[in-house]
Symmetry: C2
Amino acid sequence: MVKVKRQVKKNSETNPTDCGKHTTLSVGQVAKRSGIAVSAVHFYEQKGLIQSRRNAGNQRRYHRDVLRRIAVIKTAQQVGVPLAKIAHALSSLPDNKAPNVEDWAHMSSLWLDDLNHRIDTLIALRDNLSNCIGCGCLSLHHCWLRNPGDTLSQQGCGARLIDPD
Amino acid sequence: MVKVKRQVKKNSETNPTDCGKHTTLSVGQVAKRSGIAVSAVHFYEQKGLIQSRRNAGNQRRYHRDVLRRIAVIKTAQQVGVPLAKIAHALSSLPDNKAPNVEDWAHMSSLWLDDLNHRIDTLIALRDNLSNCIGCGCLSLHHCWLRNPGDTLSQQGCGARLIDPD
DNA sequence: GCTTGACCTTAACCATGCTTGAGGTTTTAG
DNA sequence: CTAAAACCTCAAGCATGGTTAAGGTCAAGC
């Protein structure tokens, strides 16, 4: 890399208290404002979830939009979506451009479906826990918990009975 | 280990089609009937989630109760409980003895609390997704998604506004 | 008896989601 | 101008939850 002479004018893009709409964010600012570690910011960028440009000194400068992306990443993670899937969903957004409402709405509808599915699953699980274990039916052969997905082996005389106790 | 002469009488404990209540299970039988891999059975045993005895040939023999333990492990994992916590909960059960209904009920009540909490979180998340992203309020400064947990940095003039867009 | 499949142990490896460290450069503050 | 803080890259490390491989033993059936 060519070493560039220090620029005389102070670069407002790196001023931590600058509130201008046209400033970019350093990695440290992104970390602080999004509540994740600098290393996580690097990691997400490496994984393609976010993007940056470099300044003359090879330091990352982020578009402010990155904060929303990170908010979405964190949200999706709470829901249990793996990073690879999040990356895929985010990749449908325009690169380095502020996504519009429809862009986000489309993505969120994907999360919503996923979320609803997870919620349904957990509720089913809870009901089964309540009905099955709570009442002692765990010891009965037809208990869902004891035979989830009907994946019992089919051979042998005890195939449909895990443990009659 | 002392090498033991092969026993003359056929050991019914290893007969795959034996349905007697007093038989024990080999690791392969446990794997097949619980629907997990043999390596996973070994892994769980190594982590203290299940236990076995050894026969004369140093092979694992499981009490049939292990199937219920594994069912509980799988259930808890679906709920998102990490193995260490599951191990802790299982450790409250009597070792190598069939737990009674109260034992299971107590454990399941712990899972239930956890489950309910997760369900509540997911539902809150879903509602926020619907209300926040779906309607476009993601671009407003008070959006929960964009400022989760109020963890924004406090310095600078833009601290309470992630990105006014 | 002998072959074959199931089992044994130990150790290394995989994927995910990051963090930590080493060694060096850039930026900022005084 | 200089020192400190922030940043850079690359590599290794950690925790979780297992799987895979290597080299050897045991058990069941013919």
